[in-house]
Amino acid sequence: MKIKKILIANRSEIAIRIARACREMGIKTVAVYSEIDRNSLHTRYMDEAYYIGKSPASESYLRIDKIIDAALKSGADAIHPGYGFLAENSEFVKECEKNGIIFIGPSRDSIYLLGNKTRARTKMKSSDVPIVPGTTEPVKSYDLLEQEAEKIGYPIMLKAAAGGGGKGIRLVKNESELKSAFEIASSEAKAAFGDDTIYIEKAIINPRHIEVQIARDNHGNSLWFPERECSIQRRHQKVLEESPSAAIDSRLREKIGRTAVKAADAAGYNSVGTVEFLLDEKYNFYFLEVNTRLQVEHPVTEMVTGIDLVKLQIEIAENKPIELTQDDIKLNGHAIECRIYAEDPEKNFRPSPGKVIGLRVPGGIGVRNDNGIYEGAVIPLFYDPIVGKLITWGDSRTQAIERMKRALSEYLVKGIKTTISFHRKILNDQSFIDGSISTEFVDNLLKIKNEPDKRLSEVAVIAAAILSEINKSHIAAGDDNNIKTGSSNWKNFGMRMGLCQQCL
């Protein structure tokens, strides 16, 4: 069935990304928006827009009933969930089915199977896909947890069974850390997924996080794409991704790719999706999980293959057979993605919601911006801190890196703090340039203190003096008793946003 109108049940950059594909395909788009998002780009970008509730996600973007209502009212044929929110919620898929709306993603059975990490591990183990050692059952109590941890041996990872997106994950190095890690992981899991179930994996030392984009249609045709290297993570959140991985040669690429397709086959998967693996120092790889949705980092794959994954995903949802064959998937050059988060890297990455008062995005050859913001946009504190993605392509990894450094040097965001400068640090790090990275990379990098050169320091001093001269009256007297690390505009911001206790 040809889809003519899609409701996009998401916001910010990913909602825009999907709407762009729709617009190019001649498909009408329907936005849903919460109170604070009336002026957000996604609300204004689409052909239609429906208000679905107050700003907290639990009252809007997580409200299945309101989203289904908007879909019915607008006459949408299909719903695209993006990532996060309801993207991996099989209840939501059921409601779509009940109302005759196509859910753009895999079948409910696939989501049910893969969405729960312990179920998925059991299935993969039985389908000859290598998994990380650990429990294949949820750990029901803290006592059991202690026992299992002992059995597997430290270090271990605690993970949310309903997890994804790096939420509800904690590394536990020894028994003394277990209790506190368990509490935080459970509470994060509960907040993020409404389910605090935890399981254990053996922690692999210095692993790389490697994942394979796959596509599989309703007719059993499948494709795998060149792997993505996602080892650059902070607190289990990916920070920077690239394709291909510097660690993987074409033989291993094909082996992992075929394994990913095997995993998809085992799950009867029928959409685009991602099979995540850990790669150890001896190039053994282990199945981690399947993300049954479009992923934040899908653009790097698009850049090196020229294939629009969102279009492919929509076509699969239309029940079309995939027209491409595995031979059509050619690896062309190298791509890197930097996630731009509204976080302050100088202040331990604390969230930085607020109003964007200045914005200059990078441009030129080999640069792609997937953003959800604009000059004047308000970044609410209710949702994920990702505000955009910067992707560069080069004919080699070196060129992609040089181009990314160049692009980052052009990026200017005023009003909120972002991780742009942190990405510059990553790209200038010799281990990164050499491609010798693991999931430990960010922690190691954060320990290094770089001294800026003498001349730049002098310029900073001169600039401060001139600014003082220009704004003579603005120099504060200094106040030793209160520590206010944030800008004093915070309170104003909170008031402007009309934030109140009920809102959070």
Partner: protein, 165 residues
């Protein structure tokens, strides 16, 4: 004359003249002509042909400056302020500190109680905002003199969290 501090070093800087966007700046005795303009919410400096773009924000003691991916915390004192600072010298400012939250959010965990001793860098409170848990650490070794928040409490920006001595 300004006393401009960056890390451990302090420079004496005099902004002695201005013609349009050109400032005469004397830094530690050396004279520089600085072309200084505001553009695109940032500042552009040209000094001896070298061009610099800086992003800048007023901070408590001076300016936070970003340049080429580097971050500079620069303090600025006028001559009058410098004199006050000198006269204060010797007096230790080791009094109690009140820690405030710099962002609105929800307290999800209070790990310490009044009277408990804490080490520098230890987690005192966990706050949730933008779907992430943020651990609020103790800035020094000491004792919690007062805890202003409790579990599940919503806080606004600049609300007090705890006092430490």
């Amino acid at each position: 004359m300004y006393y401009v501090g960056l890390k451990e070093e302090e420079s004496k800087v005099e902004v002695s003249g201005r013609r349009g966007s050109i400032f005469d700046v004397e830094i530690d005795g050396k004279l520089r002509q600085v072309d200084f303009v505001k553009a695109e919410n940032s500042y552009s400096l040209i000094i001896d042909g070298k061009s610099y773009e800086i992003d800048c924000e007023k901070s408590k003691n001076g300016y936070d400056i970003w340049m080429g991916g580097n971050y500079f915390q620069v303090s600025v004192l006028s001559e009058a302020q410098k004199r006050i600072q000198l006269s204060k010298k010797g007096k230790k400012s080791g009094g109690p500190q009140i820690i405030e939250t710099e962002m609105p959010g929800k307290i999800v965990l209070v790990k310490k109680v009044t009277g408990e001793t804490v080490k520098k860098g230890e987690t005192v409170v966990v706050l949730e905002a933008m779907k992430m848990q943020n651990e609020i650490l103790s800035p020094k070794d000491g004792t919690i003199e007062e805890m202003y928040v409790k579990d599940a409490q919503m806080v606004e920006a600049s609300d007090k969290l705890f006092k430490i001595k």
